[in-house]
Subunit: 357 residues, 5 copies
């Protein structure tokens, strides 16, 4: 979640961008509907007329990608969106938040997705709610709200989403955004369980690198989702919330999902920490094993080697009977072999008793 930010001391908002010319090629999807009809058109952002407060229909402006800052600045001014919100849309990587604006709201959330190498990628989703319109802008990547568009089209206008106002559409988009966390949480949970199984089977396939990256990813995920709870809360509980009472009932469910996500992330975090400690324990266990084998081999053979060294000495046995008389006895060698065998067996019994095997 590397944030883009303006230079310290720069003017707030996108005033500088207003002086540039917007790109004429940037197109958005415009969906207008009420109970009876639904139209879906694609038109250049530049040609989009200002919203008509008298229009009873709900208009959903869906950005397929992030526009250039000039296009966004001009659009924002035409539609009366707050300059600071425009700045937040462009500077991706913002922390989740909701600003209650007059007759509407502006919400930023961060949606996680798993890359092919199982690492997390956050993408910023911005949603504007106006009296009769909703605007959705997301950073990049695959489309997110297709299923909602499908629900709008389906059933000939009898569904709840068609008969409710812009705030219900806004809630639906928020709910879909929040629910995008669940597959990620589940995939991470599976990943942790896999690592756990591999670690306990001691197959040596779990690398320090994977564990470290997992933990860093979870830190990132956690920091991107914790503020989301506070971002959704004012829509539900603040007096000036633009949501109708009925939609607030649904919104509570959405907030509940977010809290569920947050707690699941906490569980993942604790499990990842447990995994790391398990890794260290397994490593320590193995060091113990290695040390034990070294100790057993060395401890058995070192005394034996002492005796072989002893009888390899060259004291002159001919000078006196005191000098290594064992060498000249009849059964000296087999006796020594028996002694060595006895020492080795004694050691083995000692280690068995100490339960080192």
């Amino acid at each position: 979640m590397r944030t883009r930010y303006g230079k310290p001391g720069a003017s707030p908002g996108l005033q500088a961008a207003l002086e540039e010319k917007p790109s004429p090629a940037f197109k958005v999807q415009v969906i207008c509907y009420d109970k009876d009809q639904l139209t879906e058109t694609e038109m250049p952002l530049q040609e989009l007329p200002a919203p008509d407060p008298a229009d009873k229909r709900v208009t959903w402006i869906r950005f397929p990608a992030m526009p250039d800052s000039a296009s966004l600045a001009h659009f924002g001014e035409r539609w009366g969106l707050h300059a600071l919100d425009m700045e937040d849309v462009i500077n991706v990587g913002q922390r989740p938040k909701t600003e209650i604006r007059e007759g509407g709201a502006f919400t930023i959330l961060q949606v996680p997705a798993l890359d092919e190498d199982q690492s997390i990628r956050l993408r910023q989703v911005c949603l504007f709610l106006g009296p009769n319109f909703v605007i959705s802008i997301r950073e990049d990547g695959p489309p997110m709200f297709d299923r909602i568009l499908e629900r709008l089209c389906r059933g000939g206008g009898s569904g709840r989403i068609r008969t409710s106002g812009a705030d219900y559409l806004f809630y639906s988009l928020l709910d879909a955004t929040v629910d995008h966390n669940f597959p990620v949480v589940e995939a991470l949970s599976d990943f942790i369980e896999d690592l756990e199984g591999e670690l306990l089977e001691q197959t040596d396939t779990v690398t320090l690198d994977a564990l470290h990256r997992l933990r860093r990813d979870l830190t990132l995920l956690r920091r991107s989702q914790w503020p989301a709870r506070d971002a959704l809360d004012p829509l539900l509980n603040e007096a000036h919330s633009p949501l109708s009472k009925k939609v607030r009932g649904y919104m509570r469910d959405c907030l509940d999902h977010q809290m569920h996500v947050n707690e699941s992330i906490e569980v993942l975090k604790e499990n990842a920490i447990g995994l790391q400690e398990l890794y260290l324990s397994v490593q320590g266990h193995r060091l113990n094993d290695v040390m034990k084998v070294l100790t057993i081999i060395a401890t058995i053979f070192i005394p034996l080697s002492f005796f072989t060294g002893l009888y390899g000495m060259n004291f002159n046995t001919e000078i006196s009977a005191w000098n290594m008389p064992e060498l000249n006895t009849r059964y000296g060698y087999p006796a020594l072999l028996l002694l060595l065998l006895g020492i080795a067996c004694g050691m083995v019994v000692f280690f068995k008793r100490k339960r080192w095997f």
Copy 2:
């Protein structure tokens, strides 16, 4: 506590399921009672009539298992239950919560139980309270509320549970649900004490695997029980709580039990962490022991072996009197043996002083 969840962007509630046909075979237990009489019947969920607000008796609908979503959706619509609550019932693994609905309440809790291999299994319990009815739906497993049914039948209607309203029955079910935690907490507490004893006796029977699973289980248990406190609180303290003042007095006791459970889980968690540290300490202790034995044996014999090697050299003693004259002395060998013995004893004394034995 793997949660089932709808697809991101899907319609909230069970609208899709409403179009399917409910299974006619699913039966529920219907218990109707007032002070004077009690009837207990089993009937297909499909045939259950809508609740009669004028009925003075209390009706308890007891689901013996989780119904199919179509059955549940139709039942919920007929009984006026909230669509989002129906979705939570089906998608098991929800976090504990209470929704205060008009004239009633909906509470989800998670009940832990120990499997045969001492690992924790969570099951979701959903309770609805209406003006004159209570509905209990649980995930699966052995029946939980038999003792309450028994209390209802016993004593010819004079017990408090028969003379009080639906809210007292609702409280009783909640209290029984919360109390199911105690045996689990106690069993885990015994398990931890057993592991502790084994560890301190160093019998090597405690495995890393067991400790890791214990900790993961406690994380799970804790995350499933902490929110339960917040789930029970609104029933007691919110202005719109459907519980009568008398039942709230009992409810405070139930909340107290939940807090006791939560604190006991915290103690278990701390003890489990302590156990893990103890395990590591014991492991470290053993590595120390192994190292000490290796060091003592090696350190005693390495110098001794040096001397045996020294007198195993083949310098030509005949060429000069400077070359290994010891080999040709009369008492060379016994003198060396005494020297070696002296070195070994010196070492042993040194180690004794260092308190390494």
Copy 3:
């Protein structure tokens, strides 16, 4: 603090016990006093009459031990005590709490004491306050409130405790209960300091077992005393508190003592954790020491032994002058000895420089 608890789904309170016959042998101490006189009698619990609201004197019912549940149930009903409170009295190991009842209060606290083997034993103390009576019931063990009885008897009725009402007696009992923590905290603090001293002197007398038990005890103590703060608070701050304004002034001092106890326990906890880390550091230090000795001995003698081995080889010196000519030189042996001495001294200097001694 193993808690006794009712079976999940069982009826709250002690209704079942009401059907049993109370034991006639259980006696309690009854102390009645006002400014002018004080009577102290012992009578069977069964024969104790119900409290007389018109009695101006203060009555203190002091239970010398835990009664059987039937006796307690009958007594509770006769005296109008709440059924749930009776259940908490019997099921020892409850978490500390206060219930404000009409015209009175019910407080549970846990009092720690040190066993002979320095481990902590918690005992439950239950106190009831009525309009003109106080009831004290404790789990078992030596009497706790003798000094208060003495203060009641002393001074011919002029002391503050005789001239004040039942709430002052109630406060005095609470204060004495809380103050029982101080000697335990002090003993533990001394114990930790002793362990610390022993550890730093490395006398090997501190066992893993002692450290682990200390930590577990502190977890227990902490969990039993933290809720006590919340248990005492409503007596001071709740609007319906039965304490008079004057007694609340004293009560604040009592709450202050409890907070002091709690903070002292936190300090003990942190010190115990520090002690455990110290133990691990000392262990690691010793392993380092052991390794150093091994390394020094082995590293000095291994190269020396290589040279003795070298000149122990049997290459035929007679076949060519290339084969081990050193063996046949005049000063070969003393030269080698000097070389070996040189190597050993070099090593020692190297280790001295590395500061390994």
Copy 4:
């Protein structure tokens, strides 16, 4: 963030300094502007006249460096600034805070910057807001607010900063101060990623020293920025805040930036801790590797050496056929070589199975 502080018991404020003579050489930059014109002059602090409440223009006094305490004391008295605030300006290293004064405000913040050796240096920034003036005083170092001066000068007075009052300038300075955190956070984030990469490639270039200094720096940064949130909050939320409603809208954005900074620092902190654990794991890994090599070499050769020692013994083979008859067999030597090879291969297979390579 070493704080300068007055001696315990000394008089609060700068009364003592009032008796000294201010340095006449200390100059400040004075910027006066309204919609229509802007003047920028440099004059000695001593000659600066008291503020004129009737002046409709906004005056910005910009201190290029920290003045001597006498100059500051006299200036503060002339301009009616609070004595305690003057003391805080001089005693650098104060914790961030805001004091709402009558008709104005006084804010202290700490701005981090990276030294050449990547270590953090904090500098104190003090901002005063009056009815029609703003004063900015910073500890030392390069100028911070040049871009804001540029914005004031640019565009002939049509920019928002020229048409708004002193509170907007005050907000702009605060915002620029807060935004100075972003480059530091980003540089530290890059630094941590670099260290991480180096650690995982095991290039041995990461030193304990660098890790320790990183962590200490982050502790310092965190402690200097956490209170900043509470320092900015009263400007936004307190009833007596001197900011107009419009500027408070911008201020919320500034507070948002601060919270973003704080959360980023938390992520950095967690990553730094993860890095330290990674370092320890990598170290442990390497110790394991070293031990394995030692064990493998020693364990293979120790038994082999035993056999060579065995057949180096000097038992007299001529005395009896029991004494080392192997030495006199025809294929004794090649048979032994085969045996040794067999033992070595067996060891290697054993270690391969244990996956120690």
Copy 5:
């Protein structure tokens, strides 16, 4: 901070002490002042008259040391001080707190000081504020408030401290007490930096003992200063605070200093923990170094010794050409020496590649 405490069940306050005779020798310093004059006398505590509410002057009773309990009890009763406060004065080691009494206040703080051996010693300071008097009692040690007395005497009554009331004197004493923390915090900060530098230079002068004592001291310091924030808060924010509005402005500065102290202690704590981890890392690093040297030496010489052992065997070369023919070759010995050199060099290259040097 070992606390003195009354016996559990003992009467609150100092009633028992009232019956003893106060020591006539205990003298206090009495300072009376208003704008115009200041008198400073020393008189026996016993002879001190009760305060005169009509006296317009401010009286400061300064205790040079802790009186005996009888003197204090009599004095407290004569001056109308609360019995529980008297008890807290005598039982030193109390946690910091403020009691707002009618028309006054009672504050306890703990002042740290460094002993000669750099360990922390806490001393209790008690301050009473009455309508026109202030009483300061401290545990023992060097005088603390000399600088304030000096400020009172100086300047002929024109200073703020002489023209303000008793509450300003009370604030000044509190502020001086809080400011006594700064030198201690600074000294500890220097001490930690010194230890850090020594550790990183690996001079072996940092002992486990010093680190452990540092940490314990910081725990103590932290526990003694955290409650001070809550102790000062009611003087500022409570409705019944006896401080005038002007003095509260100064009091906020004092509270700010306390919070600065608390945060500095947190930083110290974190740095001390980091230091301990650094110590362990350095220790681990050294163990690694030791192990590496052992491994390198052993791993190089063990194979070499094998070969010398091999050619030290006594197989009879005369019996067959299969038995150790190498011994009888012309260049056997130099060839072996070359082989051994090759093996040693190969090992060194291997270790260089593994970067073990």
